[in-house]
């Protein structure tokens, strides 16, 4: 159809089917849960519905893998979008299967919780697929809103409300700054479509350097908050600590990946012509993020806080690669970021799901409470060790392979200094990952060597993640091919 300005709009709703399906299922889950007493249904229906919705959406996204079409010039369904769609749906799927016992036991408002997870997934998917500033902003809000609420849902944990409050207040400031930055970009270019902005900016000097620079700074502040880049990371440890563990995992996986997707879309697209203006800001942020994230992690005693700082450090590596995107190596650097993102997410999910099961059994999350886990549950200890080693970038595991590709891409873009910092930071990170491993293997368990087992779904998810950890570590070609295709769609 054409709108009243005479522009043709391609309203092909099939393109949005994965998102629409997830939205409908998310409302359905919440609705069914609200009426569960009247309908007289068992407690398993919400989780079943959520999983069904995710599987349908995953199938639809896989069917759309080779598409390259836009919806009303607001959403672009290309291989980049498909990569992230499949990634995000898979994360939520694995999280729900892997930690449904935890959710039923330690989360208040279970039905709404599943609905919020689905909604957050939709927000993340829209963030990766938007091709226009306003839609992208609303998608960010969709993701953030659902996470603000989900963070506060840990039952009988006073830290949860505090975490949510901090996250909401700082998130609101970040959103405001982002919106102000976007309005500056709009004011300078007069466009919200990515390709129009890019055209205006590459046409040459707009004569509006100061507002453009202010816009860039504000956008980096806003997105940096979402990516918990230093110095906008203050909320991260508190939110991670207070949130229910699956939400913490979601924050460290989907929320971060969606932000990186947006970074790639914006800084590899509309803002690429002014790369020289933002490259130095972003490299400063990346260096600070790598250094602070990894150094502060050294003195953590809570496993969730440790993983929070570790994920801050990991974001630093990816921001560094976004600097490389600005140096004209867009396609290579983008595919390196995507590979690293996928590897990081597989690893992080393995660690978080293992920690979730540990918490289910012991109710503790201090690092010292992992003492002697190698005796009481050798399988879980092995899983956590593999995950932490992969995060540190040990060979044979996926973390090594992806980190290698990432660093190589940044070096070939000519940012040797950044990579040096990254290598040093990554060496430091090995120390605090080993701290946890040491607790598990070198100490006797405090409360007896009684063995305990995971649930069946726990075994299935951790084993699946572990297998992909090892397989992709030895043979990363499929991952690399997928990332390459996704990056090729963008440049």
């Amino acid at each position: 159809m054409t709108d009243i300005f005479g522009q043709t709009l391609n309203l092909n709703y099939v393109l949005l089917l994965p998102e629409i399906v997830l939205l409908i299922f998310s409302m359905l889950v919440i609705g069914i849960d609200a009426f569960k007493r009247q309908l007289n249904i068992s407690g398993n229906v919400p989780v079943g519905l959520a999983l069904a919705g995710l599987v349908v959406a995953l199938t639809l996204s896989i069917l759309q893998v080779n598409m390259d079409e836009d919806f009303a010039r607001l959403i672009q369904v290309d291989s980049f979008t498909s990569f992230f769609r499949i990634l995000f749906i898979a994360i939520t799927l694995v999280l729900i299967v892997g930690s449904h016992e935890y959710i039923e036991k330690s989360v208040s408002h279970v039905g709404e919780f599943y609905g919020l997870l689905l909604l957050a997934t939709v927000g993340a998917m829209l963030m990766a697929s938007a091709r226009e500033l306003l839609t992208a902003y609303l998608a960010i809000e969709l993701l953030s809103f659902s996470l603000y609420i989900a963070v506060s849902l840990a039952r009988s944990d006073r830290r949860s409300g505090e975490a949510s409050l901090k996250y909401v207040l700082l998130g609101g400031v970040a959103s405001a700054s982002l919106l102000y930055g976007l309005s500056m970009i709009y004011g300078v270019t007069g466009a919200t479509q990515y390709h129009e902005i890019s055209a205006v900016l590459s046409a040459g000097d707009t004569g509006l350097t100061t507002p453009l620079l202010l816009g860039l700074v504000l956008i980096i502040v806003g997105l940096g908050f979402k990516a918990s880049a230093v110095p906008f990371h203050m909320w991260t440890p508190d939110a991670y600590e207070g949130a229910p563990i699956p939400v913490t995992a979601f924050l460290s996986a989907t929320s971060k990946a969606a932000t990186i997707a947006l970074f790639l879309r914006w800084f590899g697209g509309p803002l690429l012509p002014i790369a020289s203006d933002w490259q130095f800001i972003l490299s400063g942020v990346a260096v600070a993020t790598m250094v602070v994230g990894n150094l502060v992690a050294l003195q953590q005693v809570n496993i969730k806080r440790l993983l929070a700082y570790s994920s801050i450090g990991q974001m630093g590596y990816m921001l560094m690669a976004i600097v490389a995107v600005g140096s004209g190596f867009g396609s290579d650097a983008t595919s390196a970021v995507l590979v690293h993102l996928a590897g990081y997410i597989i690893t992080n999910l393995l660690v978080f799901i293992s920690v979730t099961h540990f918490f289910n059994q012991t109710g503790q999350e201090e690092i010292t409470s992992f003492k002697g886990l190698a005796q009481s549950n050798p399988y879980l200890a092995l899983m956590i060790t593999a995950g932490l080693f992969s995060l540190a970038g040990m060979p044979l595991l996926v973390g090594f392979f992806t980190k290698f590709i990432l660093f190589q891409a940044v070096v070939s873009a000519g940012h040797l200094g950044l990579v040096t910092v990254a290598v040093v930071a990554s060496t430091v990170s090995l120390y605090y990952y080993l701290m946890v491993v040491r607790q598990m293997y070198l100490y006797e368990p405090e409360d007896g060597t009684e063995q305990w087992r995971l649930s069946l779904t726990g075994y299935v998810t951790t084993l699946a993640l572990f297998v992909s950890l090892v397989v992709f570590g030895l043979w990363g070609t499929p991952l690399y091919a997928a990332a390459d295709a996704a990056a090729a769609g963008m440049f």
């Binding site: 159809m1 709108d3 009243i4 409302m27 919440i30 609705g31 609200a34 009426f35």
Partner: protein, 124 residues
């Protein structure tokens, strides 16, 4: 010049209303101040000039639940903001606009249903 002020002509009544309203209230206040007799006695500031002395301050805390009404109010207020421009361009766009608004209000009606079901609208 004609076109430049076209937007503002629409808002002249608002300006007029504001000015007149201000003058009315201001003169009433000033008039009361000038004309009414005042007495300065301590008794005047007590709650009851004759009778029991109050034991506590009259204002107490209201239940936290009332905050929910304010939040519900904001959400539906924001919804109204979207309906205004829709109403202005409804005739230009046609049936498509109608269904868009049906969807919009439908989704928000779900939220009302949820609030109802969860007892958020109940006066307790």
């Amino acid at each position: 010049m004609e076109s430049e002020t076209a937007l503002y002509v629409n808002y002249l009544p608002v300006l007029l209303g504001g000015v007149v309203g201000f003058i009315l209230v201001f003169t009433a206040l000033i008039g009361a101040r000038l004309l009414a007799p005042f007495s300065e006695e301590n008794q005047k500031s007590t709650t009851y000039e004759c009778g029991m002395l109050p034991i506590r301050r009259a204002s107490t805390n209201i239940g936290m639940r009332f905050y929910l009404y304010a939040i519900l109010f904001i959400v539906f207020d924001v919804e109204v903001i979207f309906i205004f421009p829709w109403a202005m361009s409804f005739l230009n766009v046609g049936v498509f606009a109608y269904w868009l608004m049906v969807l919009f209000i439908g989704v928000l009606a779900l939220s009302l249903g949820y609030a109802w079901k969860k007892g958020a609208l109940q006066w307790r």
